[in-house]
Symmetry: C2
């Protein structure tokens, strides 16, 4: 089953509309909640008057920051730690009177219907005391009065650094030293389904049905936020319409849980609008990088230094971990004896940075891969040759990364495939000396991506299986299907290890923390690797129990080795008993019945590295400032492909995201208030089908010895290399090295003008 392009197990449900998402499960008569957001970017609420809102017919309850329990809590979807030093930063309450960004949550209304709730919001009167707003991290890090959080006088949430060798000595020994700065923009996930949940009470417990990637973590954080035992919270996760990391954060579930408690446990629904999703959930961090490197005469890296300044926005969320993850990328891919990395994560008065597909690596990779091209240009070397010269050979390992075995490294094969597709050698020469308004170029960018979070954090996954009476198998996991195809590949894994057909494995797609095995959820491209390990172990346990039970049914003198094969128990090569018949015996035998089930909860102490690259060929219209992508290919080294068709779809989706990141997407904030100026799907320029060229996805399939089925990360990596590959192609086409994305027409026109490629009025010079 592994390696086959079987159809998605949820395909039929989703295309027919039968699949149940959170909103499909809202009970009749459910109350509706709406959040009152701050209309200033920094300050405090001096007074709040909710009396008119409360008096409105149909309003059931109005709560403000004065009503919520006083328990600060963290929101990121990380495993909890029993050691305080490893716990996430708890810097937010369910509602607040201390406004830290435009849109901060002050109060909430619960009403009989949405219209009434919206009307009630307008009747709430708030007086503010305003403080100056700062949206730039490099300014905010010098402090504000008052500080954004705690007594952090520098507004620095976290500083992470590492040293390998001696960078200063390395730079001194270098023949060429290059320094550059790069900057990424704040972007939003733009999943189809906005965050939505509904909550109600059962006995003295709170149930929250929510569109999340991390139900077990949401359970814990609600417990923390409300200050109640975590066992009194139940979280249910139906099908979800995408997350991309935004739903790897605990967003409005604690407020929703609090609200149902305020109305006697009646069900309350809380759904964000698209505008709220842009402003009040999470974004990809805007990060500024200062990079320095030294190379010898042959172009070998002798020293490299990264300083990163990450704009955290108003609350901690995943911030510290995102910037730190970027440093890992800096350390791993290009061999160098002397490396330094330092990352600052800085509170500002902007929407909050959180997890987004590839978790800090697209930001870092943009800087690194631009830098690699810029160094190569400085020393007049082909950028692909420069990379090949400096890439780590063999397997990935350093002081921070401990694979249990030599992981596979297919980056050289990836580069070969990509270069061949894009006709690198030929095009690099062909486009070397262009003139005219239309110019073409080819570019490349690489990445490496750690699979899972071990050893930085905990990796644990659970799986449960039970044998049905017909010989089919129930498979239950705490890991979540979030659109990526997880349910399909887990089904394939179980079928593979149990030698069954896809139709014989019934996966339970809904997670319910009351009954679902514990698993931390969908992030870090961990599930096929970490949860896959649990599925494999669980299937092996089930298989062993089946074979042990089969022994009791077979003649005592049967000594041949038993095995499973397509619904049969084989003794040697012969069909001894069908799995269905065995199942019926284990359910209904009057002498020896015991239903066969298996359950594992496995800590996974291993990791591996996925790599890959993107090659792009672009055509730049200098006067229009427009980039047309002629060809683009991602080549991935993700170990053995579990399902080639699903893998290809993952890559296509990621490439689209990477192109948007490079070309058009950015959440623009008002300098004075931090208010998003384009926080809606009309003004925020997401890639559409019309903007998207044909995409190529290729793979280098090396069997990774660490992965449970030879596999490693593929969920997030496709989003990484597109933006720098396009930027490097534009550099090749025009000679202009952009250091900031997105590459909008405005930015291009300005740079081409400064470079003298076009006149100030858009006239071409040369």
């Amino acid at each position: 089953m592994i390696g086959k392009s079987v159809p998605r197990v949820d395909a039929y449900e989703k295309v027919t509309g039968r699949a149940k998402f959170t909103d499909d499960m809202v009970p009749p008569g459910c109350l509706v909640a709406k959040v009152y957001h701050a209309a200033i970017g920094n300050g405090i609420v001096k007074s709040i008057d909710t009396s008119e809102a409360e008096a409105l017919e149909g309003v059931v309850k109005v709560v403000t920051f004065k009503d919520v329990p006083d328990h600060c809590y963290p929101t990121p979807g990380h495993p909890w730690s029993v050691e305080p030093a490893h716990q996430d930063v708890a810097d937010r309450n369910i509602l607040t009177g201390r406004i830290r960004y435009y849109g901060d949550d002050i109060a909430a209304v619960v009403a009989e219907d949405e219209r009434t709730a919206v009307r009630a919001l307008k009747l709430i009167k708030v007086e503010y005391e305003e403080y100056p707003v700062e949206i730039h991290p490099r300014k905010s890090m010098y402090g504000s009065h008052p500080p954004i959080h705690f007594d952090k006088k520098d507004n620095v949430l976290n500083r992470t650094n590492f040293f390998i060798g001696n960078v200063d000595e390395g730079l001194e020994q270098s023949d060429t030293v290059v320094k550059r700065s790069y900057k990424t923009s704040m972007v939003q996930h733009c999943h189809l389904e906005n965050p939505v949940s509904f909550a109600y009470m059962e006995k003295d417990r709170i149930v929250v049905v929510t569109s999340t990637q991390i139900p077990h973590i949401v359970r814990r954080v609600i417990g923390q936020a409300l200050g109640i035992p975590w066992g009194r919270v139940r979280v249910i996760k139906p099908y979800i319409g995408g997350g991309f990391g935004n739903k790897q954060d605990v967003l409005y579930e604690p407020l929703n849980a609090f609200l149902t408690m305020q109305v006697g446990g009646r069900p309350v629904k809380l759904e964000l609008t698209r505008e709220e999703t842009f402003c009040n959930t999470r974004t990809r961090h805007a990060i500024e990088y200062d990079l320095t490197a030294g190379v010898d005469k042959e172009g070998r890296l002798l020293a490299k230094d990264m300083e990163a300044y990450s704009n955290q926005g108003a609350y901690a969320s995943h911030g510290h971990a995102i910037a730190a993850n970027g440093l890992t990328a800096w350390r791993l891919q290009y061999a160098c004896p002397n490396i330094r990395g330092e990352a600052y994560t800085i509170y500002t008065n902007t929407p909050v940075g959180g997890a987004m597909r590839a978790y800090g690596i697209p930001e870092a990779a943009f800087a690194i891969e631009c830098f690699m091209d810029d160094i190569a240009a400085e020393i007049h070397m082909d950028p692909l040759e420069f990379r090949r010269k400096n890439l780590i050979r063999g397997y990935y390992e350093d002081a921070y990364l401990k694979p249990i075995a030599a992981n596979s490294n297919g980056i050289f094969q990836c580069l070969e495939k990509g270069a061949e597709y894009i006709r690198w050698e030929e095009k690099r020469k062909e486009y070397a000396a262009q003139t005219g308004n239309i110019r073409r170029g080819v570019g490349v960018a690489l990445f490496c991506y750690k699979t899972g979070v071990w050893p930085i954090s905990l990796e644990i996954a659970g799986a449960r299986m039970s044998l049905n009476q017909d010989g089919s198998v129930q498979l239950q996991l705490g890991a979540t299907e979030i659109g990526q195809g997880a349910d399909t590949v887990f089904t394939q894994m179980a079928a593979e290890t149990l030698h069954l057909e896809m139709k014989d494995i019934h996966i339970v797609t809904v997670q319910d923390t009351d009954v679902t095995p514990f698993d931390t959820g969908a992030y870090a491209s961990r599930q096929s690797f970490i949860t896959g390990t649990a599925v494999k172990q669980c299937a092996e346990q089930l298989r062993d129990k089946i074979l042990a039970y089969a022994k009791t049914l077979l003649p005592k003198e049967e000594t041949r080795e038993l095995s499973l094969d397509h619904g049969w128990i084989l003794a040697g090569d012969e069909e001894a008993i069908s799995l269905g018949a065995l199942a019926q015996e284990c359910y209904y035998s009057l002498t020896n019945s015991s239903v066969i089930t298996a359950e594992v909860s496995t800590q996974v102490k291993k990791n591996t590295i996925a790599t890959g690259c993107c090659f792009a060929e672009v055509e730049v219209d200098l006067k229009l400032g427009q980039i047309k992508i002629l060809h683009i290919i991602n080549v991935h080294d993700s170990g053995r492909l579990l399902n080639p068709q699903l893998a290809e779809m993952q890559v296509h989706g990621g490439m689209s995201m990477g192109m948007g990141y490079g070309l058009s997407e950015q959440l623009i904030l008002d300098e004075k208030t931090g208010r998003p100026l384009n926080g809606n799907l009309l003004d925020y320029k997401l890639m559409t089908a019309l903007d998207t060229p044909d995409m190529e996805a290729e793979f280098v399939e090396l069997n990774d010895p660490v992965g449970p089925y030879g596999n490693k990360a593929l969920g997030e990596p496709p989003a990484i290399p597109g933006a720098p590959a396009i930027r490097n192609a534009v550099l090749h086409a025009t000679g202009v090295a952009f250091n900031e994305i997105p590459l909008t027409p405005q930015r291009l026109i300005k740079a081409f003008t400064e470079a003298g490629l076009i006149g100030k009025e858009g006239e071409q010079h040369v």
Copy 2:
């Protein structure tokens, strides 16, 4: 926790209306199905025209008996057997063109709403060919043309018998031989919630949410009825509004499942009206008994013989097992060297007999306990003395019943308590020679009741537990809460064995066959005994795993014995680590994390016998034919009480049912068609609060060595002894021995007139 009257865990949910029953979970836009029932009592459908119904706007689908798959299936809630000889009788299809009783299911309509569905039913045109209707088993057993089922020329579904010793010889040796006949009526369960379900499809699987006692069995039977693998069926059981055995049968779930398949998996709801519930679900069998017994001079039973004729109605359901169970009661309680029992279960053209609280024993006990009084009267012995003389002493065991240890037998203490309460000796004398219109009497009746179905059938139960992060425990069972308090006592059991508080055990009340451990469900008063065994084993397994994990957290030199105590792990007598802290370690330890869960699937090869008695004092108004119950008490030997308050409530409910059985309840059928004449809650005389006297419940608490917590059956037994105790009290009061229930005014007036106690015009003679 065991033995404490803790409040029901579902009390708050149920009194506030927050508890979710099936109808509360019906999704918006759900289609509605209605069944087209036959308007004749026996015959075939010659033609059916559904074209007008199909043309009605809002009708989505009309199906008839011609459309359903040709798979006969059984309906009773019994474990499946892999041996065909032990399988239930499969004699029905989802819809039928062969009408076997008035109301048989011919067709079904699926419409956008209920009103349209009802209108569509009226547009269906059917032509019948009619056969003669026979509603009396002793006539039907001589056959019909055509037979009601198969080629059964005598319409006898089943004949069960047994012999101990030689009854003929025993009767010859007797000094007195007594022969009597008794007759019970057809009654209905009258649970609050009518049968209701809704079904939809997920992928290629069918989901049925239904008000049932037996979700795992419903799953299997739907698979059989549709001819699809059982693993492709998922059954969900929410809170239910009572069952009393009617929902220990697979009623309309297969039709509901079939209907959703006919409309592309759209959700379809199928809810019966009260009238349909009376006519088209199940009833308690009307049974006729011919009893013979011989006693010696001392009043000792030397021989006893029972012949039973059970009216099965149109389909097999539980029939064969009900009559057979009555024979067990005949064998067990009163010691006798020579016993014969023979039971005929006979198809007729009436509503179908199925399981109802105490499963054939109230019927048999009515006959047996009336007979004991009638024998005692014949030999002029006090009926209590006669019983004491003949009761089995010590524990219950015979060739058919194999307890694994000596079960407890508290019947003598029960009689003592009951006699004392009712002041037996005094009242028997006081009421010996009454005159006048108002007369009083006291009566007694006994019973014994086997707990669970082993060794006649399979007993298997499953339980799963997992430790939450806060040290609380999830408890998940396939056994069902049906109003009896199962969830509460299971919670108590888990708390008892784990030394936790009630609030620390979170029981999952909804069964979902996809994730719920396998258990056959609520019947045979089995759950606290059989499932209780699984809960205990599972809790012990969880405890052992907790203590084993605790060992890894404690200093190596710690050698004291570890135990659990109120959320702490004790080393010796000292608190070593809290369960909450241990739980957090097992979830989140970076060195050794594995969430602690436990699961068992246990076959239980044991049984025991619960006993008890009812004493009643009545006042009879001869002229009005009215019985007033002055005092009534049930005394139960049910082993150790798990929850005395719940036990008392169970007894009160059962006593009410017993009084209704004795005094007023009967489903009256039209002789010509078999149509119920009073199948609604206005005409069917259920006991109301006004009819119900104060009831006393007492217990003899012997620790039963077989039960997991010293407990044995209490769910069903309370319904058994009321009717015969009242009848015997009336006999004491009036000297008239009624041989048929209910004791309606009409029946009393007739008998008192015949006995010369009142004149033909209702005038009193004496």
